[in-house]
Symmetry: C2
Subunit: 360 residues, 2 copies
């Protein structure tokens, strides 16, 4: 299904261009402008999105010609990948179109950001996500829970994968959920915390799904969260450090990011909630002794985040930012280990979830 | 088995100390000195190891007291973990012993490097690895192949895990191999390359095991490689970029590192071979157009690596370094994608492996 839709969109694009050429026209592509001047916060979908400004790129324009060519080259790579049922990383895509234009000394691309941008352009032009164009981002993260999926002909039970769990692929568009038995999803930024919860059989006792990456959330993980949220209406709770980077992880999952604004609500999950660590947790769970003083980078990043449109009018979040400023400190999830190695899975998380003590 | 051995070692340590205290002695710990002045390249095991210098740490010595206490605290955390059959990350361990000594303003530890060092000391004192003391490093990486393991009561077939593969845990000491059907192991530094080979069913066609991390090899992966190498005599081939960081990944797996010299041959695999990318590959597979100019950092790192004891007298490696210098450039694995998206799995790897075109 997905493949056909993608292939058809690309064929349409090709047909349209060849029609223009046959008519003797200067071939052109018209699409929504990406870039800061055209990014808006869509209050209806609660996602960073592109506005209405359009861009026309024409081939016989010195300033456009190279980008035009790059976009078409990437479209051609994508079409071949879809036809061959293969996927390429962004780096692969770069090397696939990197070559010298015959009889010139000009390379189609010199650096990867050029092919990356061409892929983003193609996303806007076709209305397809990078994954649907068979370009994959980085792979990272693990998952465990009472879920059975079918993927590439294999049936995989996420509850029977020992201490490792299932390794989340970069592209989850084609996996099929066969059984999903869970009340909620807990997503955490740290693999070490995931291992703690997994060893404590947290997902078994709490009937939930646990997912982690290491640091920023990959697109594969975001799509996995989104699919489970949409297809099974599962609530998602986010567990990060009490610091600007943790808040940003939450913010990107919930509202999107500037880099991905052209995908709008396709990659955002407006229903996710922030579980912790919160300023109140620090008091309530006696973590005061384990605060870490904010450094200049922390403070600068906090200032940016406080001003995000969706945080600006949010009283609860502004309260968090104020408390952080007052403490002049951040705190890590693992500070909970000072209360005992399984305090997080036996006390902290069950209590927070039972009380629905979340930030929205 | 493992648990008992670890627990016994720690009990012995405790008994010995309490005996000293009961006798009215100043309690002391004697162990092999870690640090640059006592690191040697053991030519027999071909591993970076510690020399013969000893260190005595006594409690009633102002310069030693705190470190003494830290080591004993860590030993106590380890003993509890083993008893409860739980594992802690290094960060958890830090928070577990981080507290103020009663009636003082002194913390047992202020920064994680202190608890990390205490764990390393305990490794030297007890002769046990961090994993055997139930301290885990970071989790990363995926694996696929015709292997069936048993782990935490689950039976896991690495050949039936869809596009994701098995997510490698930080600690593989307790997994049991039930079936291993492979001719060799291919370990690669990049997750994107792993996804390429996995999609191409490389492990199925070539009857091998494919393992990747992202960047530096985690301890979990190194132990997994080592166990498969020792228990099943599987050859291991390393696939990295043609650059100083790639060579270093190979070097650490094969010969060890300064940071882990106290573990000597426990973490090294002297039989691993470097498959590529080599300088000769660049010529042979037409990658010259995809060379990336060396920057100052590359050059500085190369100078260090060229001088490693095991590379210094190795003609083949010196030839590689010379060729790199001559080209003034490095190259990435993914440059092979310029020859076609599956060139790596259909041509490059099968040919290199068939010809046994490795560096040792």
């Amino acid at each position: 299904m997905k493949t056909n839709k993608s292939e058809n969109n690309l064929k349409e694009l090709g047909k349209d261009l060849s029609k223009q050429i046959k008519k003797g026209k200067d071939p052109s592509l018209t699409f929504t402008l990406r870039g800061l001047t055209n990014i808006v916060f869509d209050k209806k979908t609660k996602s960073l999105s592109l506005g209405n400004k359009k861009l026309m790129r024409t081939f016989f324009n010195l300033a456009h010609a190279k980008k035009f060519l790059q976009t078409i080259e990437i479209a051609s790579v994508s079409k071949n990948l879809i036809k061959e049922e293969k996927h390429a990383s962004l780096r692969d895509a770069f090397y696939q179109i990197k070559r010298t234009i015959p009889n010139t000394k000009v390379n189609i691309v010199d650096e990867q950001p050029e092919s990356d941008k061409a892929i983003e352009d193609l996303e806007v032009i076709t209305g397809l996500s990078r994954e649907q164009l068979n370009f994959n981002a980085n792979k990272n993260g693990s998952v465990a829970g009472r879920v059975v999926i079918s993927d590439k002909g294999d049936t995989i039970d996420w509850s029977k994968l020992g201490s490792g769990g299932w390794s989340i692929p970069s592209n989850v568009e084609d996996i099929k959920f066969k059984k999903v038995n869970a009340k909620y999803i807990l997503y955490m930024e740290k693999a070490a915390v995931w291992e703690r919860l997994h060893e404590d059989k947290f997902w078994e006792k709490q009937n939930c799904i646990i997912i982690s990456s290491q640091g920023q959330t990959t697109r594969g993980i975001r799509r996995l969260l989104q699919r489970l949220s949409e297809e099974y209406k599962l609530p998602i709770y986010i567990l990060t450090d009490f610091d600007a980077w943790g808040f940003y992880i939450y913010s990107v999952i919930k509202y999107g990011s500037i880099a991905l604004a052209h995908l709008g609500s396709k990659m955002t999950i407006p229903t996710v909630k922030f579980l912790g660590i919160t300023a109140n947790d620090i008091e309530h769970y006696g973590l005061n002794k384990h605060l870490i003083k904010l450094n200049d980078k922390d403070i600068a990043r906090m200032k940016q985040i406080m001003d995000y449109e969706w945080f600006k009018d949010n009283k609860d979040w502004q309260e968090q930012f104020k408390l952080m400023k007052k403490m002049g400190a951040k705190a890590e999830i693992q500070a909970l280990s000072s209360r005992g190695i399984s305090f997080i899975s036996e006390e902290y998380l069950p209590e927070k979830i039972k009380k629905k003590d979340f930030l929205d």
